[in-house]
């Protein structure tokens, strides 16, 4: 036995392969894990605060709690507005306002967390007896991943091949029959070694996953019914989360053993390990990919169902067709009897395979080296290199400014770009030559009628960026659904277009060979996209109240921060925004660090050059400007305004009687014009004209 261990793990360097595959599994876990419920993770503080008060079974008390909290939040929101109004009217001092607002802000900051919990509550309310409230992210991460563990499959396959195949390959196994221990003992030892190796690999991988999920999300309330997780909601037996976790673990362990023994038997039967690897792998993967109906995978005896495991605890899901007469089953639950039968058949299969291996196999020594260190080293270097390179990209250009408040007008070197709508309410991106005044549509794509062009756009230097989404429909009875989202760059010097980024927008994303299918997070992320900007190799999108950074080359996405959904500016790699408790925060995209700018309670935030312009909530909404550190404040206009615009030299504000005032950053009023205005006013950073909507006609005014 000792020699077998030494030969397999050290001479054949299976230990190296073991560590390499574990490393790959860890990398996949670390870099590929996404929380099952993004809303919970993104608003964890608020969510945990409310969850503590109502977790567990839904009772009448829980119903009352949710009703009361919803009312309280609505009241707080209206109180918030009242306070703000009182301060604006001068009925409340700024100090008193700040004191009350600070309390309110804490409560309102938890709103998103409450909404996430409320969604769970709505789901749990439908079946009060076994749907409890709890933070499900850890459990969902552990239990609902219904995809094959390729690292385990490949490792077990190679381990078995090397253990049994090396002697068979050199035809030395025949010698075994004349050896002292050759007939049965060595075969038993080899089999035990292979099974033990695979089991250790699986247990280690499982433990690492448990530790990772525990640290990232935390497992709580293992005794709650498994139906609390939406994936298992229709399961009609009584089982707790821990029961299912243990059940899945045991099924997977059994599947792992069965798979390893099956591969070993295949090698001994086929006597060619290349063929055995291909036959075993293709048998497993093809049945996994080829069987479209999920529940069928669990009804076929063999390692596939056992290695997936989660489906054994899933209930029947019926979707009625639109026509009468037929139910379509998305999933059919396996009865306990059927599960038992499948287990017994698998057990018999295992026994037969073990008997076959022991009766057929004979042993001999083969010290042939099989693991090439160089190949593995190059593979690791390649993987590390790829990973490192994804983070390396040249950094962006200076003097780039973006304000969410004014994201419907930009200027390029030669053009001003703004959005315009026609009588039917359709929005167009228009470009106007700064010198000649000639106007033209930016989107020149001849196929534009067949695409959804987003209302938001971005422009800088000589480029205008816009977003289009193609439509797709694969079956006659399916509805149109988004196909691909593309970020298009138009070079305004000659109107050349280029696709700089594209991403799949189908609601269900599929791997290239259809190996795995999962809900496409991109769809939800980009469907809520309200504005965006491009800086260097990065594409920043504002989706709901969150800002994501996307690498245009590698397509890597990361959530940068959440803000209040209104106040957001960007200048030279730094974001300025107000968070959910109205603090002004500076986020540096280079260092990935956020810093609060103290003493500023801002609204209608805009950044221009070295100045931040905002409406000061502590000073009746007075238009105030400050430096980028928030230290030198200067009030520019104290009374109520109807719109604030900025450029590099001055601040413009609209008053009630449609007068547009120009004030420089020192607070000196320079100009005042009366506008005959019915709609938008566009003030550009460098362009010396102001555009405004004069009852359907775009009119210009020289600054």
């Amino acid at each position: 036995m000792k020699y077998e261990i030494k030969k397999l793990w050290f001479d054949h360097k299976m230990l190296h392969l073991f560590l390499l595959f574990q490393l790959v599994a860890i990398c996949i876990l670390f870099f590929g894990d996404q929380p099952a419920n993004q809303d919970i993770s993104n608003n964890l503080d608020g969510y945990t605060y409310y969850l503590k008060k109502c977790e567990g079974r839904i009772t009448k008390k829980t119903d009352t709690f949710f009703e009361q909290e919803a009312d309280t939040l609505a009241e707080r929101e209206s109180e918030y507005e009242t306070i703000y109004k009182k301060v604006s009217d001068g009925k409340m001092t700024v100090a008193a306002c700040e004191k009350r607002l600070s309390k309110l802000n804490v409560i309102l900051g938890r709103n998103a967390g409450f909404e996430a919990l409320y969604e769970q509550y709505k789901h749990a309310k439908e079946q009060r007896s076994n749907r409890y409230l709890l933070n499900t992210n850890a459990w969902e991460g552990l239990l609902t991943k219904e995809h094959l563990d390729y690292a385990l499959i490949l490792f077990s396959c190679i381990l078995a091949c090397v253990c049994f195949g090396s002697e068979i390959n050199s035809e030395m196994d025949v010698m075994l029959r004349i050896a002292k221990n050759g007939k049965k003992r060595i075969a038993r030892e080899k089999l035990a070694l292979v099974v033990f190796g695979s089991v250790i690999f699986f247990i280690l991988e499982y433990l690492l996953e448990l530790i990772f999920l525990q640290n990232k999300y935390g497992f709580t309330h293992g005794g709650y019914p498994v139906q609390s997780i939406s994936y298992f909601q229709e399961y009609d037996k009584t089982a707790s989360l821990i029961d299912v976790a243990v059940g899945c673990f045991l099924w997977k362990l059994f599947g792992c053993v069965l798979w390893t023994v099956l591969v070993s038997a295949a090698i001994i039967w086929l006597r060619k390990y290349t063929l055995a690897i291909i036959v075993s792998l293709s048998g497993m993967v093809l049945s996994y990919v080829g069987i479209t109906a999920e529940y069928v995978k669990y009804r076929i005896p063999g390692p596939l169902g056992a290695m997936l495991a989660a489906g054994f605890y899933r209930g029947t899901i019926v979707s009625n067709t639109e026509t009468a007469g037929k139910n379509i089953f998305s999933y059919i639950q396996l009865s306990e009897t059927r599960k038992m039968w499948i287990f017994l058949i698998d057990l018999v299969l295992l026994g037969v395979l073990i008997f076959y291996i022991i009766s057929k196999y004979s042993n001999c020594w083969n010290k042939k080296r099989f693991l090439r260190r160089k190949a593995i080293a190059s593979l690791i270097i390649f993987l590390i290199g790829m990973d490192v390179l994804t983070g390396c990209s040249k950094y962006k250009k200076e003097n780039q400014t973006y304000n969410l408040k004014n994201c419907q007008n930009f200027e390029t070197d030669k053009y001003i770009v703004y959005s315009e709508s026609n009588e039917q309410g359709e929005e167009f991106i228009m470009a106007q030559d700064k010198n000649t005044g000639e106007r033209t549509q930016v989107v020149k794509d001849v196929f534009r009628n067949n695409k959804d062009i987003a209302d938001c756009f971005y422009a800088m230097d000589n480029y205008v960026y816009y977003i289009e989404t193609t439509k797709d429909r694969e079956t006659v009875y399916g509805a149109d659904e988004p196909g691909e989202m593309r970020l298009i760059r138009v070079d305004m010097r000659n109107f050349s277009t280029k696709i700089v980024f594209r991403i799949n927008m189908k609601t269900i994303s599929e791997d290239i060979l259809g190996i795995t299918q999962k809900t496409n997070e991109n769809f939800f992320r980009y469907a809520e996209l309200s504005s965006f900007l491009v800086s260097g190799d990065y594409f920043y999108i504002v989706s709901g109240k969150q800002v994501y950074e996307i690498n245009l080359i590698t397509k890597n996405q990361r959530l940068l921060f959440a803000f209040d959904g209104i106040n957001l500016s960007f200048q030279d790699g730094v974001f300025y925004y107000t968070d959910h408790v109205s603090r002004l925060v500076q986020y540096n995209t280079r260092t990935k660090k956020a810093k609060t700018i103290k003493g500023v309670v801002a609204e209608m935030l805009q950044v221009a050059g070295k100045h931040i312009v905002y409406e000061d909530r502590t000073n009746n909404g007075a238009i105030t400007c400050t430096d980028l550190k928030g230290k030198q404040k200067k009030v520019l206009y104290k009374k109520e305004n109807f719109g604030v615009y900025v450029d590099t030299h001055a601040v413009y504000y609209l008053t009630e009687n449609n007068e547009l005032h120009e004030v420089d950053y020192n607070g000196l009023e320079k100009n005042k014009i009366k506008l005959r205005r019915s709609g938008m006013v566009y003030v550009f950073f460098d362009y010396n004209k102001i555009l405004y909507d004069d009852y359907g006609k775009v009119t210009e005014y020289n600054k």
């Binding site: 490949l154 190679i158 091949c161 090397v162 390959n169 086929l270 060619k272 390990y273 290349t274 063929l275 690897i277 291909i278 036959v279 792998l281 293709s282 093809l286 990919v289 080829g290 069987i291 479209t292 109906a293 067709t321 639109e322 026509t323 009468a324 007469g325 037929k326 379509i328 042939k368 099989f370 090439r372 190949a375 593979l379 033209t440 020149k444 794509d445 001849v446 196929f447 534009r448 009628n449 067949n450 797709d472 429909r473 694969e474 079956t475 006659v476 009875y477 000659n494 109107f495 050349s496 696709i499 594209r502 791997d511 290239i512 060979l513 259809g514 245009l552 080359i553 590698t554 397509k555």
Partner: protein, 391 residues
């Protein structure tokens, strides 16, 4: 040389395990196609067997040239049903006067199998004209702004879309599913993986490669024969599975009437610049797949040549395949163009009208993909040659 090729083929690819594997995979492929049919055919969503009979009766009446009478005929049948469904004034049980089960199912049958296609086909002329109009106005605009590339690009688009129309109505469900079907590609790659792993390994494992070098034809001809045999094997696999795909789809959907209609008869291909018919397009896609498989197969051969152990060769080849697939799926445009995997999924190339600016000339992206893959084939051959000569 011919004998050498035959011998190499017999040694590596015409083996018993390979033939059995091919047979099993052909069977698995047929089963998968049937499951695709079950998933995508509208008749599987409509339970009653009479749906198919009603459909066939109506289809034989309305297929062929789309005349005004036919369009009016089907619309007269459809409009009152749609109206009833919209108002909700129909029975949810079986209705006596209904063609199928009830008004709703009649309406769905017409909607899914006739109306949506007829609407698309009758509206396509206007759609194509609007593209030509947009393109012509763009050409003027770009000429004014001296952007020759964009003007030339739009000229090509205008030319491709000029006088396009869809005068016939045929069932395209079979072709639609066939064009989106990828499972057989996966099988082909697996078989290549297995086949290639032994091409150079067989001699190495028995240490016969040294002996081979001393033979008369061992230095050059054997390598050429091995490469040609492998390429023939890849081509054979692609052809075999493509023919199977076509026939089994035909057998399942019972209809490939639209094979001589233009490719843009499929809604997903409405923006294509190709004017070939569906059958020709499918053949072109098969050819693309062949080229892609050959290029990837050559990479497998290189690994096989430098590898010292068959299972290690398989592992390395799996890594190469996974790497190419991940790069194709995850990375941006540039990487996609220099990846032979793009040819395995060539429908994306045929669907879209993407151009690349090549010194001011608009060149379609497939030219680059084909060019790069052909280059890769050549380079792989030279690498193999060098490796073989080095021993």
């Amino acid at each position: 040389m011919r004998r050498l090729i035959y011998f190499e083929g017999k040694k590596h690819f015409m083996t018993k395990p390979m033939l059995v594997l091919i047979f099993i995979f052909l069977l698995a492929n047929a089963i998968k196609i049937h499951s695709v049919y079950k998933e995508q055919s509208p008749f599987e969503k409509l339970s009653d067997p009479c749906f198919k009979e009603v459909y066939q009766e109506l289809y034989s009446k309305y297929k062929g040239e789309l005349t005004k009478e036919k369009v009016n005929g089907i619309m007269d049948l459809y409009t009152p049903l749609k109206e009833k469904v919209r108002e909700g004034t129909y029975s949810k049980e079986r209705e006596k006067g209904s063609m199928t089960y009830n008004t709703h199912s009649d309406c769905l049958l017409l909607d899914w199998c006739f109306i949506s296609n007829i609407k698309y086909e009758t509206g396509y002329k206007d759609y194509a004209d609007s593209i030509v109009k947009n393109a012509v106005s763009n050409i003027k605009f770009y000429n004014k702004h001296k952007n020759g590339y964009e003007a030339r690009k739009d000229y090509k688009i205008a030319k491709a879309f000029l006088n396009r129309r869809l005068p016939h109505f045929y069932n395209t469900d079979g072709f639609r599913s066939l064009m989106y079907y990828d499972f057989s590609t996966f099988i082909i790659l697996l078989l290549c993986l297995y086949g290639c792993s032994s091409v150079f390994m067989k001699e190495k494992e028995t240490e016969m490669n040294l002996l081979l070098e001393t033979s008369v034809k061992g230095r050059k001809e054997t390598l050429t024969a091995k490469v040609i045999t492998s390429i023939l094997f890849f081509v054979f696999l692609c052809l075999l599975f493509s023919i199977e795909d076509y026939l089994v789809f035909y057998w399942n959907f019972e209809n490939m009437d639209a094979c001589f209609e233009p490719i843009y008869m499929l809604e997903a291909f409405r923006d294509t610049l190709f004017r070939t018919n569906l059958l020709t397009t499918y053949l072109l896609m098969v050819c693309s797949k062949m080229l892609g498989v050959c290029a990837i197969g050559m990479l497998f051969l290189i690994v096989s040549m430098y590898g010292k152990n068959a299972w290690m060769v398989i592992l390395e080849n799996l890594c190469i395949l996974a790497g190419l697939l991940v790069i194709y799926q995850k990375f941006s445009e540039t990487f996609v163009l220099v990846n032979p995997v793009a040819l395995l999924y060539s429908r994306e190339i045929f669907m879209n009208s993407n151009f690349i600016n090549c010194f001011g000339m608009p060149i379609m992206d497939w030219v680059f993909v084909y060019g790069f893959t052909s280059m890769l084939l050549l380079v792989s051959f030279f690498v193999l040659k060098r490796g073989w000569q080095k021993g």
